[in-house]
Amino acid sequence: MKYVIKKLLTTLITLFAVSALVFFSFSVIPGNPAVSRLGTEATPEKIEKLTHEMGLDRPLPERYGEWVLNILHGDFGKSYSYNQKVTSLLSEKIGTTLILSVIAIILTVAVAFPLGIYTARKSDSKLDVVLTSLNQLIMAIPSFFSGILITLLFGFVFKLFTPGAYVSYKVNFLRCVGYLFFPALAIALPKISMVVKLLKDTALKEANKDYVVTAYSRGNATRAVFYKHVLKNAMIPVITFLGMTFADIIAGSIIVEQVFSVPGLGRILLTSISGRDYPMVQAIILLLSVFVVISNLAVDFMYRAFDKRIRV
């Protein structure tokens, strides 16, 4: 229990630090946002009025406090370019990116575990050599290029989906998942290769340890030793990796959403960056980082569940 409380506390501190970083880094940008918002229409009076309206004439710490309080109440402020509440603009996009990421992680686990276990058990077979080389190649293909190849193959040659015809999950959930499967595949492919490689490497390293040899010498079946001892211990680094991967997958979706024109967080982040829509950029970066921090916390707890001795 003490461990859990300590962990939650440090996570809270991290979240606080992240929010401060996001807020203050945007306030050091040279230039008055009110001026850039008014553009050519800027007159001294108008600038003063808007500066006051946007609260830019108040001291920074005060604005930061207000910003955090508002966020805790679910209010991220107003977008500069859409002139709407950031929350109402983002709510659907968050869902889209989450669904995409969850499909990608399910795909990764569902394909990588059986394959990794197979290559670990048959580490000398011909098929293993082929798989290992293929793995090395797939790891070198960036997700946006594999995304283009997937579009070409499944969208153009096999006509399994229409590129660009994304359906919102609010309209039709199944068709949405059917479309998101392909971008998720592009995100998952390199991750699958990495997990397979890691699982194989750690399992092989584990299999040469003394306790495994002892287990064999006591007459245990190869299968039983592998699943009960080797695999169990090989899982720990794999779980760490999967946790880091989850954060990576969310960030990776920014690029892949662009390839498949999926209107998620990544796409609106990019348009907000080029439109210098700072409240939006702030909100999205903060959301994504909160996500990263929380998934890191989840990994630490998962470790604990796996091995009670570990205290991270």
Partner: protein, 263 residues
């Protein structure tokens, strides 16, 4: 060196050899002006245009050559920033320990836990796109992983007998670090520089795919892919060649790194 590593080394050397050849051509000679448009030219692959032409009639091969140069400039600068500051941070924290170590490593871990794409986008969101911002953004994102590797090596080395004995001879901290510790990091540095190149090429290509890299009309491999995507069903090769070039670069560096890692 095992047989497996030898194969990796040879293939890796061949692939990076191709990349450096393309880099040299990109700097000194391209068959056509990579920016020259010619609407009359056929888009398909021919002896004159071995990778075909893009939608504006620009020679794809020439653009790929210059794109390789751009990517390598960014990747090289990013790795340089990462290695330099990573080594400084890594040796300081590893060698001295104490509160410097605590503070810098906490910071380091916080940055490390952050996906580099997100960090780079934050910096670009603040300062606008373009090559220099991209180098700065990715460079910062690359420091922590180098720092971590260097720190753990320094920790291993600093308590070895020979370091203790130089210390007894009265050598100062600076001399111990520069003369006695840093030279021993060569092997670790080599493989982490190679994997750094692998990651930097990937990150540069990704960012320029998103339109956050080198400004158009200058060719960059990532941007070529995103431009070609609109014509993917009529002229797929315009996307495939730059894509394959990126794969060759990444594969080459990762194979070399894997081969040098276990020595």
């Amino acid at each position: 060196m095992t047989g497996n590593n030898k194969v990796k080394l040879i293939i890796g050397l061949v692939l990076t050899g191709i990349v450096f050849l393309m880099l040299l051509f990109g700097i000194f000679y391209t068959p056509y002006d990579p920016m020259a448009m010619d609407a009359s030219v056929s888009k398909s692959i021919s002896l004159k245009h071995i990778m075909g032409c893009d939608q504006f009639g620009r020679d794809v091969f020439s653009r790929v050559l210059v794109g390789v140069k751009e990517t390598m400039i960014v990747a090289g600068a990013v790795v340089l920033i990462g290695v330099f500051f990573g080594t400084v941070v890594g040796t300081l924290t590893g060698y001295f320990g104490g509160w410097i170590d605590e503070i810098l490593m906490r910071l380091n871990d916080a940055v490390l836990a952050f996906p580099s794409v997100l960090l780079a986008l934050l910096v670009i969101g603040l300062y606008g796109g373009g090559r220099n911002t991209l180098i700065l953004a990715l460079g910062i994102a690359f420091i922590p992983s180098f720092a971590r590797i260097i720190r753990s090596e320094v920790l291993k080395i600093k308590n070895l007998d020979y370091i203790q004995s130089v210390r007894l001879f009265g050598a100062g901290h600076l001399r111990i670090i520069v003369v006695h510790i840093l030279p021993n990091l060569k092997t670790v540095m080599l493989s982490s520089i190679l994997i750094g190149f692998n990651n930097a090429v990937l990150a540069e290509a990704g960012m320029s795919y998103l339109g956050m890299g080198v400004a158009p009309p200058n060719p960059s491999l990532g941007r070529m892919l995103s431009e070609a995507q609109a014509y993917i069903f009529t002229n797929p090769m315009t996307a495939v060649f730059p894509g394959i070039t990126i794969v060759i670069m990444i594969l080459g560096f990762s194979l070399l790194s894997a081969a040098t890692e276990k020595g």
